[in-house]
């Protein structure tokens, strides 16, 4: 055992000596990870304590899984968790394919100017602040002055109060997110498509394949590993919906469909000062996210031989 350990340590030492330049390059990132991602993890113990800011982490008494029990008995948390999964799930179904389709469309555009112009147009929304995007959405959907409602009125329909009706929230949220991010996300797929050998297409042209057949039989299978990696990452984020954009769009009237775990954590922890409960909710989310990404990665490795690790 000792000799095996010595051998192992010796191997690491040799590795460090040989590739020290590479480790030196990685060092700032490792330090950043340790300081800002691993060190704060000691705060996770709050989830298992009856935390009081006055007593501090060390002085607060342990309560075991009490906070998790409280959470799982809290109907608002359950609703927030279901909303998170629903919004992410719908995003996976409707938003995930859009950048792939966009990339395929850009790839088919023959006119160089047309391609660059349309790419720039769809990339731009990514660089707009989420606050401004929320402002644009609120203005667009305004029941009195919003373009959408003006169009509906001109067609003889009653105005729709999109942002106060819970049944509209998910569509508005996912739709505006697609508008904001799909173009930028298509860059990854465009890069993958650029890596497909042009001779595959030339060979297919000589063999008689149509453009549609080339997309289905060459492009998509060739970028499948990239699609799978992106899908695994997306699945890992299933239980995480960015709370800034939700907070900017939601209101108590739409909580039933808009309230997600991150907004719950924000309200409970920061506004309600129940730090222990909020930490438990965050930890619960993180564990489920880890389980999801781990499972997706394993399935992907078995099915397609492509995996993150």
């Amino acid at each position: 055992m000792t000799s095996r350990m010595t051998h192992y340590l010796k191997g690491i030492g040799e590795d460090l000596r040989r590739d020290w330049q590479l480790y030196l390059l990685a060092l700032p990132m490792i330090v950043w990870f340790l300081l800002f991602l691993y060190k704060p993890m000691e705060g996770l113990q709050i989830a298992f304590k009856d935390f009081s800011p006055f007593r501090g982490i060390a002085g607060s008494p342990w309560v075991g899984l009490e906070n998790f029990r409280t959470l799982l008995e809290d109907q608002i948390f359950i609703r927030a968790f279901i909303n998170t999964i629903t919004i992410s799930g719908l995003g996976l179904i409707f938003a995930f394919p859009v950048p792939i389709i966009l990339a395929l469309m850009f790839n088919e555009l023959q006119n160089e100017f047309g391609r660059r112009f349309s790419q720039t147009i769809v990339y731009l929304p990514h660089f707009i602040s989420v606050v401004i995007v929320a402002g644009i959405v609120i203005n667009l959907l305004s029941p009195t002055t919003g373009v959408i409602n003006l169009i509906l009125s001109s067609l003889g329909f009653e105005p729709v109060y999109f942002l106060t009706q819970p049944e509209w929230f998910r569509s508005v949220f996912i739709g505006s997110n697609i508008w904001k991010e799909a173009g930028f996300e298509s860059i990854v797929y465009l890069a993958a498509i650029a890596g497909v050998s042009p001779t595959l297409y030339e060979s297919a042209r000589v063999d008689g394949a149509s453009r549609w057949q080339m997309i289905w039989r060459i492009t998509l299978p060739c970028i499948l590993p990239t699609i799978i990696i992106m899908l695994i990452i997306r699945i890992g984020n299933l239980v995480e919906v960015g709370f800034e954009y939700i907070i900017l769009l939601y209101q108590p009237a739409t909580y039933s469909t808009a309230d997600v775990v991150s907004t719950y954590v924000y309200r409970t922890g920061l506004q309600g000062t129940q730090y222990d409960l909020a930490t438990a909710a965050g930890l619960f989310n993180a564990v489920i996210a880890f389980a999801l990404v781990f499972t997706a990665n394993r399935i992907s490795r078995k099915v397609s031989s492509t995996s993150l690790w």
Partner: protein, 371 residues
């Protein structure tokens, strides 16, 4: 009727003309090799025949139909690419079947065609493997399989052996020729390797700078090159070309090799050349390395050429002598004597006069007085 006909074919990229007015007629069942150095326009010409490049002028006909504006799929050609262009996500059988599948052929037809191609190319044990699990030679055979299942009117090969090592290249070269003999399909093959061209072709088209330099059978081109470029391109090692000036002596033309002040050398030119050359004309005298000897053979009319040996490269039964004649570099390919060291002491080379080639120095064209 020609299987493939190129008339006055031109290719331009903007203002840059890269293929200049090519005329070529390939007869049914013929194996034609386009050969030339990198950038000479041979691949561009092949791609124009395939329809992968638009033509800027002239006409291309396949099977009597003008195909200038016809899509590649409608030209009834199949192409084998330099990097094989195998679909990495499909196995061997699916790769071979690709062309038939996209054309909507029935399953039974596809399976029979794949099976037949696999048998011909010895690929049956590998049908379920992905291209990444195959050797270079096997990948090459899959690429050929994909072409042959289509049963096209014309096969187009774009440097298909370039990515293989020397041994495999020799093996695959023979396989391609055997396949052609078996199937008899008209083939146009592009290579920069003159050995491939010589061994595979019924006819060779030598190209240089976007122009056809000469078309003919391999031996025709080897024995009677139309110009200095063809002479120096075909043959391994290539023909030695010595700069010289024509002088006259006793009614015969004589070539005084350049740089003779310290080490004079002159060659009596064949009798037929006297009428074709002028005194003082600048020429290139061509000597094939294999025609140079170090011992007198049975051939009459042999001239002695004074030389110095720089380097000896023994190849086994033969050796390459890197020599200098009047200061100009020359390579001779001679039989290896029992004592290789003696080759370094060679002081003269023997050359049969009637084997000399003569080219005009200015135009590069062969001076041809032969009937």
């Amino acid at each position: 009727m020609s299987a493939v006909e190129l008339n006055d074919v031109v290719k331009r990229y903007g203002a840059l003309e890269v293929v200049h007015s090519i005329d070529l007629s390939v007869v049914q069942g013929e194996f034609v090799v386009l050969v030339g150095p990198s950038g000479c326009g041979k691949s561009t010409t092949l791609r124009m025949v395939a329809g992968l490049e638009d033509i800027s002028g002239g006409t291309i006909s396949i099977g009597g139909r003008v195909v200038n504006r016809m899509a590649p799929k409608d030209r009834d050609v199949a192409m084998v690419f330099q990097n094989y262009a195998l679909y990495p996500h499909l196995n061997v059988a699916e790769n071979i079947a690709f062309g038939l599948r996209v054309r909507g052929e029935k399953n039974a037809v596809v399976e029979a065609a794949v099976s037949e191609a696999a048998t011909i190319l010895d690929l049956t044990p590998y049908l379920k493997r992905k291209p990444a699990d195959l050797s270079g030679g096997q990948r090459q055979r899959v690429a050929m399989g994909r072409a042959i299942v289509r049963k096209p009117r014309v096969f187009l090969f774009d440097e298909p052996l370039s990515n293989l090592d020397a041994k495999l290249r020799t093996q695959m070269r023979a396989e391609i020729r055997r396949l052609h003999n078996r199937m008899g399909v008209t083939s146009i093959y592009v290579t920069h390797d003159q050995v491939e061209a010589m061994t595979l072709a019924d006819r060779i088209v030598v190209m240089n700078s976007g122009r056809v330099e000469q078309v003919g059978s391999p031996m025709e081109l080897f024995l009677n090159p139309a110009n200095a470029f063809v002479a120096s391109f075909l043959g391994s090692p290539p023909m030695n070309l010595l700069k010289a000036t024509v002088t006259a002596a006793n009614g015969a033309a004589v070539a005084r090799i350049d740089g003779t002040d310290d080490n004079p050398a002159q060659l009596t030119l064949p009798a037929w050349s006297a009428a074709a050359l002028d005194a003082g004309q600048r020429i290139l005298v061509g000597l094939r390395p294999e025609h140079l000897e170090i011992e007198t053979g049975t051939v009459a009319d042999v001239q002695n050429i004074p030389t110095t040996v720089d380097l000896v490269e023994p190849l086994g039964s033969e050796a390459l002598l890197h020599c200098r004649i009047a200061g100009q570099p020359v390579v001779a390919k001679v039989d290896t004597p029992s004592d290789v060291q003696k080759l370094a002491e060679v002081r003269q080379l023997l050359m049969p006069t009637d084997r000399l080639h003569i080219f005009d120095l200015e135009t590069g064209r062969a001076v041809n007085g032969r009937s």
